[in-house]
């Protein structure tokens, strides 16, 4: 670690864009964009869904306040980033998650995904994914959507695909999937709500369209290739795109500022890598829904993608 010299020209932590938008404003918009999915989630999972989300958000905010206290810094919880992290994390949980799972996972997201890297903008990963991955490793029983939701008539199409094969998937109707008639992460499977929120963010220019398009294109192409190879074994491409947390990942998680590249070609490659990895994990890996892991993995490659840059002026 080179010491930071006060007079040296150093690049400050991202985000670098300045257009009059404050962090608080941006985060507020993201929360607004998540609102349709929240409403749909509560409608479909009832009070238990709301309870998980509330718990996760509260835990995230509290953890950040405590961390700031320890680090001797003025607390930044009013910028709403902690709330976004907590809600994003809750979106990936099943509605049946016990309260401690939501609280601990949310706290881990904040501590390991954000505060150890010095707060907002420092982390090379999208924070909620860290919490999700740690919980997935530790408590697969509680994160396992099928085992914990036996009493609901909804089904988890991806787990059925993984464990029993394509013939056993009970809901293949795309319209039903689109309206969130499936199990999965709380908010992440409310495809319609997520899509509305995502488009809103793109229209308000809070996120770039390149990454979501890259993710979806990568997934569509890869899934179509598999499907073309053997349509009886591999699910159709549209099924993959409309199940699990792919849409939510593409619009909300992959576009997280500091962990994704910020030039066009690197962004596109980053998105494509995520899309391809999602399908590869779903087909070959042990996890039914590969989205969170695919995004984590792609974040590791962000510095590599960032090496693709225009030549400095005057250099041959």
């Amino acid at each position: 670690m080179r010491p930071l010299q006060p007079l040296a020209l150093t690049v400050s932590a991202p985000p670098h864009r300045h257009c009059g938008v404050t962090v608080r404003g941006r985060m507020g918009n993201i929360l607004l964009a998540m609102a349709p999915a929240v409403v749909m989630a509560v409608a479909s999972f009832g009070v238990s869904g709301f309870r998980v989300m509330a718990m996760a958000v509260a835990a995230a905010i509290l953890t950040e306040a405590v961390c700031d206290k320890f680090m001797d810094r003025e607390t930044q919880i009013h910028d709403l980033h902690a709330a976004v992290v907590g809600l994003s994390f809750a979106f990936l949980l099943p509605a049946s998650a016990p309260w401690w799972l939501a609280a601990i996972g949310s706290a881990i997201s904040i501590v390991l995904g954000k505060m150890v890297f010095g707060g907002l903008g420092g982390s090379p990963f999208c924070a909620p994914l860290i919490g999700w991955a740690v919980c997935r490793l530790s408590w697969p029983l509680f994160m396992d959507l099928d085992a914990s939701m036996l009493n609901v008539e909804l089904t988890y199409p991806l787990a059925q695909l993984k464990n029993f094969g394509l013939g056993f998937v009970s809901v293949t109707d795309l319209g039903q999937l689109f309206m969130g008639r499936q199990l999965g992460g709380l908010g992440a499977v409310q495809i319609a709500g997520v899509l509305i929120g995502g488009l809103y963010l793109i229209l308000r220019k809070h996120i770039s369209w390149i990454i979501p398009v890259g993710v979806i294109a990568g997934a569509l192409i890869t899934a179509a290739l598999f499907n073309a190879a053997d349509p009886n074994v591999y699910a159709p491409a549209t099924f993959h795109v409309l199940t699990g947390s792919m849409m939510f990942g593409a619009f909300f998680l992959a576009t997280d500022g500091p962990s994704s590249p910020n030039r066009r070609i690197p962004m596109l490659l980053f998105g494509l890598l995520i899309g391809v990895m999602i399908i590869i994990i779903r087909v070959y890996g042990v996890y039914p829904d590969g989205t969170p892991f695919a995004i984590l993995l792609a974040s590791l490659f962000t510095p590599v993608f960032e090496r693709i840059r225009p030549k400095p002026f005057g250099v041959r």
Binding site: I280, I281, F293
Partner: protein, 191 residues
Amino acid sequence: MQEYFLLFIGAIFVNNIVLAQYLGNCPFIGTSKESGVAIGMGAAVVFVATMAAAITWLVQAYILVPLGLGFLQTLAFILVIASLVQFVEMFLKKMVPPLYKSLGIFLPLITTNCAVMGIALICQREELDLKTTILFSFASGLGFMLALVLLAGIRERLAVRRLPIAMRGTPIGLVMAGLMSLAFFAFKGMI
């Protein structure tokens, strides 16, 4: 052919030598602060690990086993690796100076890099044949290099961030390595 491909992919991603098998952590944390250094160290490990695994395989199969000295494996392997490193260093210095210039400073570090010895030992424990040993050790070396280069890329970026002072240096390196290892869980169960 397919099984070789799977072995190759498995050694690089699924059972990554540093992130899943805990081998070679000292150089992983120690030399991952700058990309250039990381690439040099990684290349040196790929080079030496492949040669070391092949030579130790020959030593085991044609010297130790026929003489009934299998229990001296550890002793023999470390001596082979230490002298191999010395030899490679002298050879490169004489014959390929440009390569020596880029890899030279990392070679002495490799004697005590447990990844090299670990790869050789894993090949023996899994009872791989010579061809597979060479392929496996090469792939494991590449896996080491990949992890090292990725970590270096991220740590270079972290160097300009406002990390908590207690986290700076080794702690953040370790936490980053842990989170990388977490991300590599994506490949679990693929082979």
